[in-house]
Structures are given as structure tokens and as C-alpha cells.
Amino acid sequence: MMRLRVLPILVRMLLFACLTAAVAPLAGCWDMRYLDKLAVVLAVGVDDDPTGKFLYQVTVQVVLPQNAVTGEKGGGGSPVMTITDTGDTLFEVFRKMSTKTSRRLFFSHTQLLAIHEMTARRGIYPLMDLIERNADIRTDISVIIARGMTAEKLLQIRTQMESVPANQLKEMLQVNEEAQGQTYSVLVRDIARWADSEQKQASVPAIGAKGLPSKGNTKENVDRINPEVIPELTTMAVFKDGKLLDFLTPRQSRGMTWLENKIKSTVIKFSCPRSKGHYMVEVFETETKTMAKLPTRGEDRPVIHIKTRVEAGIQEMACPDFFIEGEESIHEVEQALKKAVEEELKTTIAALQKKLKSDALGWGEAVYQDQPQLWKKISPDWSSLFPKTAYEIECISHIQSMGSRTNSIVK
């Protein structure tokens, strides 16, 4: 049998050893760290430095695993702790915090960046760079605005549903996005991308607190059946050039979600057509497309075309004389739905165009994608062109179901 000529075993082993030795130091960013020597940071809060000495006061919420995880012995204490320090940049503060910690801060599992509204008015872009640049920090951190209270206080509210407050805040964003759509989560990498492209202004959900904020940081807050204070999702905050302008109203905020095509499911309230009372329509599928068309009659501004398709069902009916069995009534509801959605979108657009003058809808992006030649021409003046840009809304609505019964029992 043919056998390949093989090197002597000693030579082969020597070769093997050399190659192994050569390959081992190739590990670029290897860095062993023991899990029990890490302080897992779940949320970072940024406020203005109250003393005015530095630019920022940063708070990190560190999870204490032995307390946070149920089923382990020990514990009983707070599931998280916060550490607060001041500095001019995030990285400066993070390293400064090592004067207060026995473990190294570990940012790979950070989920939330809370920014106080006053700090956000000064600009949020400086806060994004470290998160984008550092390989250890994820860029899918949700950004929120702490509204009506400092980010420090927000991160110090003890919550009941999730023992780790950062989880509560993060989950709140998700649940609301799926059930009502008043806000949608915005990640650090989204903001960074928008800032880079200059085709879209940032918008960030805001979270406030309901109740007495001072009671948040007490054990009583989680021992009570009705907590003294509970974090509450409010509306989207709109930015321009990285600086917070204002908050939208709840209706505008949902319109914003709608225009961003991020509504997964929501409900709309209608008055009964011929009597007192209300009925509810649940939107369970909707799709919104924003397209840019070439300007008509030699104008310099594009026309934005918004196309929405809404699939919905009647879920609550408290109208005595509204019989929804017939096709007529369904058609009536469909028309009402179409009108309501169009109204909501128009209000939102009006607020952004006329009041805030910020292209948080990303119309610039639509123009860039659909009419790149035009965008090249108008992009320098886009911020002044946006408020005057014409748009048209096309809404198609379908009622697909009426729930398990037809006419209401309300007589």
C-alpha cells in the first residue's frame, strides 16, 4: 500500500509546538475576568452635575446577583445598588467609580441609558460615543429620557414586578410598544446612525414617575400592594441636532409610532354615531410606508406620500343603537377608523412641522432612498425645507372581526 512519506515524530512534534506557540498570542482581546469579580451594570443614568463643577453626574445601577435571583440562599437585601459620581465624560466617571466599588464595573449587559431631560436639552450625542466605540458595551442599549425627575432618582425607584428596576423599565418599553404603541424603544445605535446620516432627527421615549419620588428608594415601596411611586412611561421626546426640543402629547406620540411603522397593536376609541357612549376598535395589524415623490410643477420640495393599511376588529361596543351585523355598519366603522388614523397622523406631522420643526419622522431618509438625486440637491437646506414639505396620506382600513358577539347588550 502506498504510504505518504511522513516526517519523523520528533520533527512533527517540534513543528506542532512552534505553530501552537505562534498561534496562541494571536488572541487579540482576550482578557480573563472572573464572573464573581464583576459588577454587572444594568442601567446608566446621566444628569447635570448639581454642583456645576463637572458636566455630568452619572449613576450606574449595579445588580447584586445574590439578592436579585430568587431561589438562592442569603439575600433579602436590595437587588440592585446605585453608584453616583461626577465628571466631564462617561468614561472618566466610570473609571472614577472604582474608588467606590469592590468589583469591576461590567457594561456588557447594560440595557438602559436614562438621560435627564435637562441634560438632554444640552445634547445627547456626546454620551453616545463611548457606547458606540467601546467593544465591551453593547450598542443595543435602550435610551430613555427621565422626565420630571433626575435619572438618578429614576434608577433608585424600587419596583415590584421586576425586582431589578432596569428590567422593569426595559420591559415597560417593550410591553407598551406591543400593546399600545404610545412609544417605541430607541437604541443607542439608532441615534448614532441618525446623527451620522443627518437624514433624521432623534426621538426618544420618556419615562417619569407616578407618585412620590422620594418614597421610591425605600423597602416600603415594594412591600405595599399599591406602591407609593411607580415608573411610568410617558411620550416620545423629539430632538433636533441631538438636543431635546419637547415632548409630544400622547396622541401625537402614538401618531409618531404609527408613522415610524412600529405599531404592533393598539386601540382607538370612537364615539357612538347616533347615541351616547363609546366603542373601541383594536388595530392588530398595520403597515405604514413613507415614500418621497418628485416635486410637482418645478418646485424644489419633494412630496411625501404616506400609505397606511390598518387591519382592525371591534372589541368593545357600548352603543345602544349601533347594530354592527350589517355590511353598512362595518363600512361605517371602517370609514371612522380611516378618518381617525388620518387625523392622528396629521396632528403628529403638524406638531413636528409647524411647532418643533424637526424631521424626527425621517422624511429626509425617505427622500434619500427614493429620490437620491433630489436629496443631493436639497440636503443642505433640508432643515428649513422640512416644515414646508407637502405630504399626502392614503389610509386603507379593514374591519376583520367583531369579537365573539355582534350587537351590544347595552340597550
Binding site: M1, I9, V23, A24, L26, A27, W30, D31, M32, R33, Y34, L35, D36, L38, V40, L42, V63, P65, Q66, A68, V69, E72, G74, F106, S108, H109, Q111, D136, R138, V164
Partner: protein
């Protein structure tokens, strides 16, 4: 009934043409049977018996029975055998009794012709051979070498005074283990019989599966002192001639004092002797052996062990269990995948655990990280040391249970499983996560149907653990890459070890990652045979419509 026949098919071992181990002529010492090759049987009976006794150091289990059959002293016969190696009942009944009752031998009746005394002795021996011994197999012996070979294989030797030769009557008997259920590769459905220590019983069991004249058997003895019968079995026409020639050469090259188990041969004829991966299959199920023979492989039977060797094999074979073919192909496919997965788990799980805890904490979901972190709280050892210690403890437990008397086994498992497993966590010395990982790894490693592959995983696990604890996932990737390179470099009797995956042979994929239905497996795997690939000639496919 299944006596051992040492002389048939005996291979001359003078022409060892293998360059690996040149024959050493000077090694013909007294202990080796070949030293007796030239020593003839002595004609004088008492001298002969004295010589045998002295050669065997007057061993007490050697029985020498002298019979003076006729009163005139012209017919002295001696019977020599080793106690319990022969079936003494048959010896009494069919050898001694018939001789004692024969009228010619006892001198009551004269021979028809007159002979000289020497010729007469020959004549008498012929008469015994042809007329008297009602024994299936009788051979003439003329040298001491043949004498001893037959003696130890269970023959009774018969010598007659004045005759320069003797007779070996095959009356082998003695105690043998019965055919029992195999201990290693259990199957819920399928034959329950396992191979035994006797090479003849084993070849019988295989022949009972393949009733074909094309099933050929070649026997030889290996082991200068032990003279162990070794046989190769194959189906002529399916097996490749090159492979047979190669195997014969390798077996002929073995020069060793003794063969006690088939692993002796496995290690001496294997291709890559430094590899932890087995390149020769071992099995103790006759149905599995028969299955491989039908695929054109060669079985090597070694007397004294139920484990039959099979060549050539590829890695894929070690994931095939007998039961795969005895149950529905869907289930078999599922189990195949499960086995591959289990092997990967058995190999990688502890190292992945260590790598994640030591280097890549960002890789796992936050909730899981917090759970692990909470368990690690207060554990005095770093994760990698923890894993090393627990793996080591498990290996000790495993070895202890394997070697303990079975009555103490349950005590060990209680102490090992409950006391160590539980209290070590409760005392906070180890985290429960590492106990879970180690136990799961252990269970996964038992899924391998062939034990020798499990051993490879067992050893490599520590190697991977070392890589993971110094370099993290990068280290694991390096070692896995190395393993792949290594596996790719392996071959078993000329067949690439990773076939049919690398080199890809699409037709054989049908019986690798999954097991195709029987009616689709129309060809034999091309792994070991290159001719006569047709397994089914008909186009049998499932009926589309129910027959009326």
C-alpha cells in the same frame, strides 16, 4: 463440539516481508513454540513420555495414561492430555473404551498379514485412526511443535510404542461461558446473544447470521508463547483484495509473546497509533459484526475475548448503533442526530462553561448570567479550577464504580452522587452550575454506542478545558480546528476517517447523519468496498395505495 483447530489454515511465519518490524531470527528461544519445529516424535514410548513430562516440568495437570492393551506387550499405547481441557467423557467413551474392546489391539485376533514389529506398530496406529476412533477430527503428529499445539488446543494425544508419530484426537471440552446477552451495546429490540471468549463459538455465531459459502475464514496463531488463535472473516466478493492483503501483512508482522485481548492486535495493526480516536472498531454483537461484513469490512476474531475487531472503519461508524436498523428510520435518524449532539456536548460543554464564565460573560442572556453569578457568589475557586476539580472527581467516581465489586457499587454512587454532588454545593465549595454541567457532560458521554469513542471524548475534554481556561472561545476554536485537522489526517486501512463527510461521498450520507429507510438504501457504503455495491436489486418502494 466447537473445538479449536490450530493447524488448519496455519500461516507460515517465515516470510515476514514487512519493513516495519524485521524478523529477529535470534529470538528463537526455548519459550517459543517454534523452537520445537525440528524435534521429531520419539519412537520409544517410555522415552517419549519422559521427554514430554520433562518439557512440561512435570506439571500436575498433565495426564499420562499408559495402556497395555495386549498381554504380550506388543501393543503399548499411551494417552496424553491436559486435565479439563479435554472432554474426559468423550475420551473415555470413544477413545479408550473402543481401543480396549478391539480384538486386534488386545491380541485376541491376529492381523491378516504378518509385519515386522515396526511396521506392525504403524499398522496398529492406522487401525486406531481409521477404524476405532469415533471422533470427528483426528490428525497425525510427527513433531513436538504439532504435539504441543494440539495438546493445548484440547486434543488427547495417542502414542504407540515403536511408532515415530502420534495421533491427536480432538476431544476438546472443558468449561466455557455460555452465550449471554452482550454487556456493552444493549438493544431493546434485536438479537440478545453476544459473542463469547471462544473463537469457534464466535465464528459459529457469525456463520449463523450469514449462511453463505462466500463467508470465508482464515485462521492463524499469534503470540509466540500464548499461541492465540486469531481468525479473519470476510465475505469473498465484497471485500477489497488490497484491503485483505494489507491486513494479512500487518497481522503477519506481529511478533509478540502473547495476545490476551483484541486490543493487543488493535494497537499493533492500527494506522495512527498516537491518535486518541479509534481507527478500528470493536464489537461484541454478532449481528453488528455480520452487518459490517455485509458492508465489505473484515472481522478479526481473537480467541479469549468477546470483542471482535472490524476494519476499516470511519468516524461515522462509531455513531451507528445496532438498534438504528431495528427500528423505524425516523426514530433512528433522531437518535443519530442526538448521538452526534451528545458527542459534541460531551466534548465541549465544560469548556464552553468555563469560557463563558471566564471570558465571554456578554455572550449569555442577562438573566442566565445573573443566575450563574448568584451561584458563583462565595465560591472560593475560579470557574476553570472548579470545572477541572469536578471533572476529575467524576472520573474518579466513574473508575471506582467500574472496578468495585458490584455489591459496593451502590454505596459508591450514594456517596459520590449524593454526598459529593449535593453537599459540595451546599457547603458553597462548588457552584451548582458546575455540578450540573459535569453531570450533564457525563450523561452525554455515555450516549456513544461504542465505548472507545467515548474514551476519546473523555480525554480530549481535559485538553479543551485547558484551552478554554487560558484562551476562552478562541482557545476552544483553536483546539476544535486542530481536532478537525487531525481527524482529516486519520485513515483506517486506506479509508479516510471522515468519509463520507470529507471527502464528500453523497451516496453514503444516507447512513450517516440520518438513517434512510431500508428501501432507499440500495447500495452498500463505498467506504470499504469498491465493487458489488448493489445491496438491493429491486425497486422496492412503499405502496402508494392500499392493496385490495
Amino acid at each position: 463440539m466447537f473445538g479449536i483447530d490450530g493447524s488448519k489454515g496455519k500461516k507460515a511465519r517465515k516470510s515476514n516481508g514487512d519493513e516495519r518490524r524485521p524478523p529477529q531470527a535470534e529470538k528463537h528461544e526455548k519459550e517459543q513454540l517454534s523452537a520445537y519445529e525440528e524435534v521429531p516424535v520419539i519412537a520409544d514410548l517410555s522415552d517419549m513420555l519422559d521427554r514430554i513430562k520433562s518439557e512440561m516440568g512435570n506439571s500436575d495437570d498433565l495426564v499420562v495414561r499408559q495402556l497395555r492393551l495386549s498381554d504380550h506387550g506388543q501393543c503399548d499405547v499411551a494417552i496424553v492430555y491436559i486435565q479439563c481441557v479435554v472432554d474426559e467423557m468423550r475420551l473415555d467413551e470413544f477413545v479408550i473404551k473402543t481401543m480396549q474392546e478391539d480384538k486386534v489391539l488386545t491380541g485376541q485376533q491376529a492381523l491378516e498379514q504378518q509385519f515386522s514389529s515396526e511396521e506392525k506398530a504403524d499398522q496398529m496406529l492406522d487401525r486406531i485412526n481409521n477404524h476405532l476412533l469415533s471422533i470427528g477430527k483426528v490428525t497425525e503428529i510427527s513433531t513436538f511443535k504439532e504435539l504441543f499445539e494440539n495438546l493445548f488446543l484440547g486434543s488427547a494425544l495417542l502414542f504407540m510404542n515403536g511408532c515415530g508419530k502420534g495421533l491427536a484426537a480432538q476431544v476438546s471440552g472443558g468449561m466455557k461461558r455460555g452465550i449471554e446477552e452482550p454487556k456493552t451495546e444493549l438493544a431493546l429490540r434485536g438479537p440478545r446473544e453476544g459473542l463469547t471468549e471462544s473463537i469457534r463459538v464466535n465464528s459459529m455465531l457469525i456463520r449463523r447470521k450469514i449462511r453463505s459459502p462466500r463467508l470465508w475464514l482464515e485462521q492463524m496463531t499469534i503470540g509466540e508463547i500464548t499461541q492465540t488463535p486469531v481468525a479473519i472473516m470476510y465475505i469473498q466478493g465484497l471485500v477489497s483484495e488490497d484491503l485483505l492483503k494489507d491486513l494479512r501483512e500487518r497481522l503477519d508482522a506481529i511478533q509478540i509473546d502473547g495476545i490476551l485481548e483484541s486490543n493487543y492486535i488493535e494497537e499493533m495493526i492500527g494506522d495512527q497509533q498516537w491518535s486518541p480516536f479509534p481507527t478500528i472498531m470493536n464489537n461484541e454483537r454478532p449481528d453488528v459484526v455480520a452487518g459490517y461484513l455485509l458492508e465489505g469490512k473484515i472481522a478479526i476474531l481473537v480467541d479469549g475475548t468477546p470483542f471482535v475487531l472490524l476494519v476499516p472503519v470511519v468516524l461515522n461508524n462509531f455513531f451507528q448503533a445496532a438498534e438504528d436498523y431495528y427500528q423505524s428510520f425516523q426514530m433512528a435518524t433522531f437518535l443519530r442526530l442526538l448521538r452526534f449532539l451528545s458527542f459534541i456536548i460531551a466534548l465541549l460543554m465544560p469548556s464552553i462553561y468555563v469560557a463563558i464564565l471566564g471570558f465571554h460573560q456578554e455572550m449569555i442572556p442577562t438573566q442566565l448570567l445573573l443566575k450563574l453569578a448568584a451561584q458563583r457568589e462565595g465560591v472560593p475557586f475560579p470557574a476553570y479550577l472548579e470545572a477541572f476539580i469536578m471533572e476529575f472527581v467524576f472520573e474518579i467516581l466513574r473508575e471506582a464504580v467500574l472496578r468495585m465489586p458490584s455489591s459496593a457499587g451502590s454505596a459508591i454512587s450514594i456517596v459520590g452522587g449524593l454526598v459529593i454532588g449535593q453537599s459540595v454545593v451546599e457547603a458553597g465549595i462548588m457552584s451548582s452550575a458546575v455540578v450540573i454541567v459535569v453531570s450533564f457532560t457525563a450523561i452525554a458521554s455515555f450516549v456513544a454506542p461504542v465505548y472507545s469513542l467515548g474514551i476519546a471524548a473523555r480525554l480530549l475534554r481535559f485538553f479543551l478545558l485547558l484551552a478554554a481556561s487560558t484562551l476562552g472561545f478562541y482557545g476552544i476554536a483553536l483546539v476544535v480546528l486542530l481536532l478537525l485537522l487531525h481527524l482529516n489526517s486519520l485513515s483506517s486501512f486506506g479509508v479516510p476517517y471522515l468519509k463520507p463527510f470529507a471527502p464528500v461521498y453523497w451516496k453514503d450520507i444516507k447512513d450517516s447523519l440520518f438513517r434512510a429507510p431500508m428501501w432507499l438504501m440500495k447500495e452498500r457504503p463505498q467506504l470499504s468496498t469498491d465493487k458489488n455495491l448493489d445491496r438491493q436489486s429491486t425497486q422496492l418502494e412503499p405502496r402508494q395505495e392500499p392493496s385490495q
